[in-house]
Symmetry: C2
Subunit: 278 residues, 2 copies
């Protein structure tokens, strides 16, 4: 098991880990299978064999190091830092109804009024939650974009850094006994995914995301709006109820058959929250 340096940030012990070093070296999302889909209860309980993908091994390793998922020994909070090619600004992606994560997102939103900070709620059960942050007691991902793969953009880097700094600030206040009052927060609740038009036989792309949809993450998509430009020159329009698109044209989602996700905007009422006194 790798040893990791633990930094002290006020009352917090913070440990930074690179989740998938071989993929980082290869400048790819993953080598054999998407690491950030390997943290369901099912994946974490499957026995490892010689032919297990390296990412499944790494998921088991991270689960031993930071979990085990669902146990009392699991770390208190895990924040997974991600980049996307989509024009997402800063997003807090929270799987389940985790009030700590929701409060942090709201706090960061208030602290960064000039940046687009949004909360995405995936709404899956902890056992089905597939991302690395699901192995901690509390957890969320911070997704920042747009940034091309293999490129470091100072604006995006600075946004991510600021979001992390404010999250640590919230946690220090929480540890110091601050009560965070109940309040309403606006969340984008995941509804469904939409694939690119594909050739039914070869699965090859038959279209690109329409220029009017490209980069318009979180702008209401209405029935009849253009969503794809077919390579024949025709336009495909959206049919369905009005929803909010996000992860539009994300690089890693072509293979997952996702051109964009759709969400419903919902107001979630957060309860007041403070440190449990023992």
């Amino acid at each position: 098991m790798q040893k990791h340096k633990v930094d002290q940030v006020g009352s917090l012990s913070v440990c930074s880990i690179l989740n998938n070093p071989p993929a980082i070296d290869a400048c790819r999302r993953y080598i054999e299978t998407d690491l950030n889909r390997c943290f369901t209860d099912a994946s974490l309980s499957v026995p490892l064999t010689d032919s297990s993908p390296c990412e499944l091994r790494r998921a088991h390793e991270l689960n031993s190091l930071l979990g085990p998922k669902g146990s009392e020994q699991a770390v208190d909070l895990l924040c997974d830092l991600h980049n996307t090619t989509s024009n997402m600004g800063i997003c807090f992606i929270v799987d389940s109804l985790d009030w700590v994560s929701f409060h942090i997102a709201k706090y960061v939103q208030r602290k960064m009024p000039s940046s687009p900070v949004r909360l995405i709620h995936i709404n899956v059960s902890p056992s089905e939650a597939y991302s690395v942050d699901s192995i901690a007691k509390h957890g969320f991902a911070i997704e920042v974009g747009p940034q091309p793969h293999g490129v470091l953009r100072a604006d995006i880097y600075n946004m991510m850094k600021e979001a992390v700094d404010h999250s640590l600030e919230w946690l220090n206040k929480f540890n110091a006994g601050t009560t965070f009052e109940g309040e309403d927060v606006e969340a984008f609740v995941f509804e469904k995914s939409v694939d690119y038009p594909r050739d039914p036989e070869t699965s090859d792309l038959m279209a690109a995301v329409h220029p009017k949809l490209q980069d318009n993450d979180f702008k209401l998509l209405q029935h009849g709006d253009p969503i794809f430009s077919l390579f024949t020159g025709e336009t495909v329009n959206y049919e369905g109820e009005d929803l909010y698109p996000f992860f539009i044209n994300e690089c890693a989602y072509y293979e997952k058959r996702i051109a964009f996700h759709l969400a419903r905007k919902k107001t979630i009422t957060l309860p007041p929250i403070s440190m449990k006194k023992d």
Copy 2:
């Protein structure tokens, strides 16, 4: 030798070739060595051995198919289509003083008044020219960006398509006997490259491109302007004569130790041009 389909576009026989299929499959610029640096006279005359990089083999193959470079059998014109993560708009990159390429660039510029179409002149001798288009009698690259690696953007795709269509149009007019009058064209003439600040021992990056420089390709960089944000928080300012930056923060150039190129803006007077009568 691979066989390639030849399309007839008016008077032109057009053949489209994917230069580096294994790299395309791997979604990388190249597998072993940068193909688009393999077309100098020196590289094309080096004997192939078992340990030659696959790209050097491919360069020799393309040279047999489309060249040989500098010979009478070489194809008339080669146009190399490229994407970049830099905010370059549409660029015609011409190595040597090739009037045909310059005239085409000027024509496309005029035909696409609402798009940023620019001409970059690298100014190297044919024998030192390293890109695939240097093996034809005339040639240039069309570079379009910004587009992340592995992402298809309809706006960028459409710009590239329009630039290619107008180039074919020019060639058809040229073949039909049209005389293109002499005129002035504005070119960005390559001057030098600037690397990221790096740790002198490890060569690791110590900075990112400054947000005020990022995406500002072809905007005059003046003495004292910020160019890098050091990870310590400090800013590095530009020292030197006023020049025009391009290929700012291009993904494939980190390893080449290039944060951006600098060019001098120059007016080049094109001679009138028409088909030679035999």
